[in-house]
Amino acid sequence: MKNHFSFQLCRRRRKESLICRRFEPRHLGSYWILVLLALVFAGKIFAVDVAGDFSAANKFYAEGKFADAATAYEKILASGETSPNLLFNYGNAEFKSGNLGRAIAAFRRAGLLAPRDSEIRANLDFARNQVQGATLRESRWENWLGSLTLNEWTFLAVAAFWLTFALLAATQLRPALKTALRRLTFVVGIVTIFSGACLGADAAIYFSKQTAVIVAPEATARSGPFDEAQSVFTARDGVELAVLSRRDDWLQVTDGSGKIGWLQDKQAEVLPGG
C-alpha cells in the first residue's frame, strides 16, 4: 500500500524525478536484489575479516606465541561467531599456554558442535590425560548419545515423526495403499519412538546436567558457599566436576569419588551436558 501511494503521488506531480522513479513499484524487484546482494557481500566481508583474524591467530601459534594466539581466537569467539575448528585451535593455544582447564573446556565445546571429529576427540583425550586428580568422565551411554549433537537428534526424530504422519495421512487419503505401507509405517514408527527417546535422553543430559571444568591452577571446594567455610577437597586445573546447584557466585560440585563442595564460579567454566 505504501509503495502504491508513492506511485500515485509521483503521477500526480507529473515529475519524472529520480526520487519518484526510485520508489516506483516496477523497480521494487531490482531493489530487493540490491538488498540481497548487499547482505551477501556484507557476510563475505565479515567472513574475510574472521578469516584474516583466524590466520593471524594461527600465525601467533606457529611463532610460539601461544598466549597471544589464545587471545586472538578468544576475540573472534567474543564476536559471537564460532565453529568447531575455531574452538579446536583455541583449545590448542590454551593447552600450549599451560591452561589445561580452558583447553579442555574449548575441546568439549568443539565436541558439542562436531561430536564425530576425531581430531577434537584425540586432543580432548590427550589434554584429559594430563589432568591430575579424580575427574568425571562421560558414561558409555552418554558417549553414544553424544555421537550426534542435540540438533542432529532433533532433526532425526522430527524427520521420522513427519514421515510417520505422512504415511498415516497417505493411508487415509488412499486406503488402497494401507497394505503396501503397513510395514514401512511400522518401521518408521519404531524409528520415531527410538529417535524420540534418544532425543529426550540427550536433551535431559544437555539441560539437566552441567559440568564444571576447573580453569584455576588449584580450586578449593568448601563445605558451604562462603569463603570462610571449611575446605572439603581441592581440584587441579582441568579437573571436570558435576555441577549440582548454584547459589550466587558459587557452584555446588561433586567429583568422581562422591565428594561434594562449593566452588567460586570464576574458578570453573560451566558446560552443558554431563
Binding site: A51, N92, F95, L113, Y206, S223, Q230
Partner: protein
C-alpha cells in the same frame, strides 16, 4: 457508611490490634545432642520473625567438621497471627569423641543484634556388645570384624570381613550405612557385599551379611582396625503387641493382615578393635630395582616396532597381573637404558574383582633409540615382595632384538604377508594434534532447536494434516454408505446454484428459463425430502405425501402457489423482473422451510 460496615471495620481493626507485634528471635539447636563417632548431627539456626542479613557461620570447632546444607523457610497464619521462620541447616560430623560446644552465634536481623545460645554435642565411641550378650542370643543385631591374619607386611593388601548378624525375628533390614571405618596405618579401599548365610548362636538363628573391605597397610608397627560402625533401620517385632493388633483378628488368635506388626528401629552397630602387627619388609636380599611393590604378580611384556629408524618410537607395553595394591604399582627405573630417550609411561588398571585387589595394571612406555648402534631393548625386570612366601621375587623378560637404521635411510623391505608391528601397536599420541588451517563454517550459536517455540509449534503440522486426512476419510466413507445424505448434499448444492440462476434469469427478464428452473428445483428439493424420484413430483404430492402433512400450512400454501405459478407461466409467460425476483425470494424462503422438514 452503614452500621454493619462500621462494625466490620471495627472488628478488623481490633483483630489486627490484638495481633501482637512479634519480635524476631534466633535459636540454635541440634537434632541429636549425643551421637556416636561416625554419625552426623544437624545444627539448625532458626530465625523466627525475621531474616538475617547474612548467614551466621559457626566457628571452626576442633574435632568437628561443619558443612552448610542450605536454608529452609516456613510461613504460617494461625488465629490471625502470621509468622515466618527461616532455618539454616549445617551438618556436623565429628572426627573424634568428646564433648564439643558450639558457641553462641550473633546475627543482625532488621537492625537488631540477636544471639543464640551455645549448644553442646557429645560424641561417644561406638562399642561392640559384650561376648556374653552375643552368645545368649539377646542381641537383635551385632557386627563382627575379622582379618585373615594377625601379621602382615607394610604395603600388603588384606581383606577384612565385616559380618552383620541379624536375629531371625528381624523382619527387615534397610538403609545400611557404613559410618565409620577407622583403620590406623591403613588405607581403606573398596567395599564389597558378600552372600548372606545363616548361623546359630546360642538358641537363636542369625542371618549373616558379610561385607568385605580392602585394606592396604601403609606402615610397619602395631596397627589397629576398628571399631567399624554401621547405621541401619531394622523392622523388629513391636514391643507392645496389644497396640498393633486388630481386636477383630486378635479374638481368633491371628495377626491382622492390615496392621503392621513390627516397628522400625534405628540402630548403630559397632565392632571391636582388632590389633595387627605390621612387619617391615626384610632388609636383606632386596633386588636392586625393587620399588615397593608388595603382592603376588606375573608380568608380560611386548614391544614394537622392532624394525625402525633412529628416533622412531617403540611402544613397550608391560602388563603386571595378580593381587596387590595396583594403585601404588610403578614401573622400575630403567637406568641402564642409556641409548634410549624415555618418555613418561602411562598406565591403566583393570581389576577383576569388586574390591580392586585382583587384576592387572598395564604400563605403556614410549622409548626411542638415539643411535643406529642400538641392537636390542635391554631386559625388562620387575621386583616385588611376596608376603605369602616372605621373599623378594624378580620377574625378568629377555632383551628384544631391534633393527635400527639411521634416520632417512630406506627401510628394509617388508614381507607382504606380515602385518607391520606399528599397525598392531600404534604409538600413543605424544602431543596435541596440530591446528586447523581454516576456521570452517562460522555460525552464531543459538539455543537448540528443541527449545524454540516456533520449531515446536511447526511439529503440530503433520499431526494436523493427519487429522484432516482422517476426518476427510470418515466423511467420504460416511457419504459412500449413505445415499440419502449424498442426495441431500447434492440437492442442497443444486438449490444454491439454482437460486443464483433464478436471480440471473430474473435480472435478464427471462421468465421461460426462470420458471423452468424453478419447477426443476422444486422437484429436486421435494423429491429429496420425500425420498422419491424428482420427475415424479407434481403439485399433487403436497396434499398426498405423509411427510408434507406435518408441514406448516403457510409453507404448503406457498409451495402450491409456486407450482401454480410455474403452470401459469406456460400460458402467460410475460412477467417483469421485479415480480420474478419476488418469486425467487419466495422460493428461497419455502426451500429453507422444506429443508427443515423431517424426512
Amino acid at each position: 457508611m452503614n452500621l454493619s460496615t462500621v462494625v466490620a471495620v471495627l472488628i478488623l481493626a481490633l483483630w489486627f490490634a490484638a495481633a501482637p507485634a512479634r519480635a524476631a528471635t534466633f535459636t540454635a539447636s541440634l537434632d541429636h545432642d549425643t551421637i556416636t563417632l561416625g554419625e552426623s548431627a544437624t545444627l539448625s539456626l532458626t530465625f523466627d520473625g525475621g531474616s538475617p542479613k547474612s548467614v551466621p557461620l559457626p566457628p571452626n570447632v576442633s574435632g568437628l567438621q561443619i558443612s552448610y546444607d542450605g536454608p529452609s523457610s516456613q510461613f504460617s497464619f494461625i488465629n490471625g497471627q502470621t509468622s515466618s521462620t527461616i532455618t539454616h541447616h549445617f551438618t556436623i560430623t565429628p572426627r573424634q569423641t568428646g564433648e564439643f560446644t558450639i558457641p553462641a552465634l550473633a546475627a543482625s536481623v532488621d537492625g537488631q543484634q540477636l544471639r543464640s545460645q551455645p549448644v553442646t554435642l557429645t560424641v561417644l565411641t561406638a562399642s561392640a556388645p559384650p561376648a556374653a550378650a552375643i552368645n545368649s542370643g539377646s542381641q537383635i543385631a551385632f557386627m563382627k570384624l575379622s582379618l585373615p591374619k594377625k601379621e602382615i607386611y607394610a604395603g600388603e593388601v588384606v581383606t577384612a570381613e565385616l559380618d552383620v548378624y541379624l536375629r531371625d525375628d528381624v523382619q527387615n533390614f534397610s538403609n545400611p550405612q557404613l559410618t565409620g571405618t577407622p583403620a590406623s596405618g591403613f588405607t581403606v579401599g573398596k567395599i564389597m557385599p558378600g552372600s548372606a548365610r545363616r548361623a546359630q548362636i546360642g538358641n537363636r538363628v542369625y542371618t549373616v551379611f558379610p561385607i568385605f573391605v580392602a585394606l592396604t597397610d601403609l606402615q610397619s608397627g602395631d596397627l589397629s582396625v576398628g571399631p567399624f560402625t554401621l547405621n541401619a533401620t531394622l523392622l523388629v517385632p513391636a514391643s507392645n503387641q496389644q497396640q498393633t493388633q486388630d481386636p477383630f483378628f486378635q479374638q481368633f488368635g491371628i495377626h491382622s493382615p492390615f496392621v503392621n506388626s513390627g516397628e522400625e528401629k534405628q540402630v548403630t552397630l559397632a565392632t571391636d578393635t582388632l590389633n595387627v602387627e605390621s612387619l617391615a619388609l626384610p632388609a636383606e636380599n632386596v633386588p636392586a630395582n625393587f620399588n615397593g611393590a608388595v603382592g603376588n604378580y606375573t608380568m608380560t611384556v611386548t614391544a614394537g616396532p622392532t624394525n625402525l629408524a633412529v628416533g622412531d618410537p617403540i611402544t613397550i607395553r608391560a602388563q603386571i597381573s595378580g593381587r596387590g595394591a595396583f594403585d601404588a604399582l610403578a614401573l622400575p627405573d630403567q637406568s641402564v637404558w642409556h641409548d634410549f630417550k624415555i618418555f613418561p609411561p602411562t598406565s591403566k588398571v583393570e581389576t577383576t574383582d569388586q574390591l580392586g585387589i585382583n587384576g592387572s595394571k598395564t604400563f605403556e612406555e614410549i622409548v626411542a633409540p638415539q643411535n643406529a648402534d642400538v641392537r636390542a631393548l635391554p631386559p625388562f625386570s620387575f621386583s616385588f615382595f611376596d608376603p605369602e612366601q616372605k621373599i623378594y621375587r624378580t620377574l625378568t623378560r629377555p632383551a628384544v632384538q631391534l633393527a635400527v637404521r639411521s634416520a632417512g635411510t630406506t627401510p628394509a623391505p617388508m614381507i607382504a604377508a606380515t602385518k607391520p608391528a606399528a599397525a598392531e601397536n600404534p604409538p600413543p599420541q605424544q602431543d596435541i594434534l596440530p591446528l586447523k588451517e581454516n576456521p570452517g563454517a562460522l555460525a552464531q550459536t543459538g539455543p537448540p532447536f528443541v527449545t524454540r517455540p516456533a520449531f515446536l509449534a511447526l511439529q503440530s503440522l503433520p499431526v494436523l494434516a493427519f487429522l484432516a486426512a482422517f476426518v476427510w476419510r470418515r466423511r467420504a466413507d460416511s457419504l459412500a454408505n449413505n445415499p440419502r445424505l449424498r442426495r441431500q448434499l447434492r440437492v442442497a448444492q443444486l438449490v444454491r446454484d439454482g437460486s443464483n440462476d433464478l436471480r440471473r434469469f430474473a435480472a435478464e427478464n427471462n421468465p421461460d428459463e426462470f420458471f423452468a428452473a424453478l419447477f426443476r428445483l422444486l422437484q429436486e428439493q421435494l423429491g429429496e425430502r420425500l425420498d422419491c424420484p424428482a420427475s415424479s413430483i407434481t403439485e399433487n404430492v403436497i396434499d398426498e405425501h405423509p411427510v408434507l402433512r406435518g408441514a406448516p400450512k403457510e409453507t404448503l400454501d406457498e409451495l402450491r402457489e409456486l407450482f401454480q405459478l410455474c403452470n401459469q407461466a406456460r400460458y402467460a409467460p410475460v412477467r417483469g423482473s421485479s415480480e420474478l425476483n419476488s418469486v425467487a425470494a419466495q422460493f428461497e424462503k419455502v426451500v429453507g422451510e422444506v429443508q427443515n422438514l423431517k424426512a
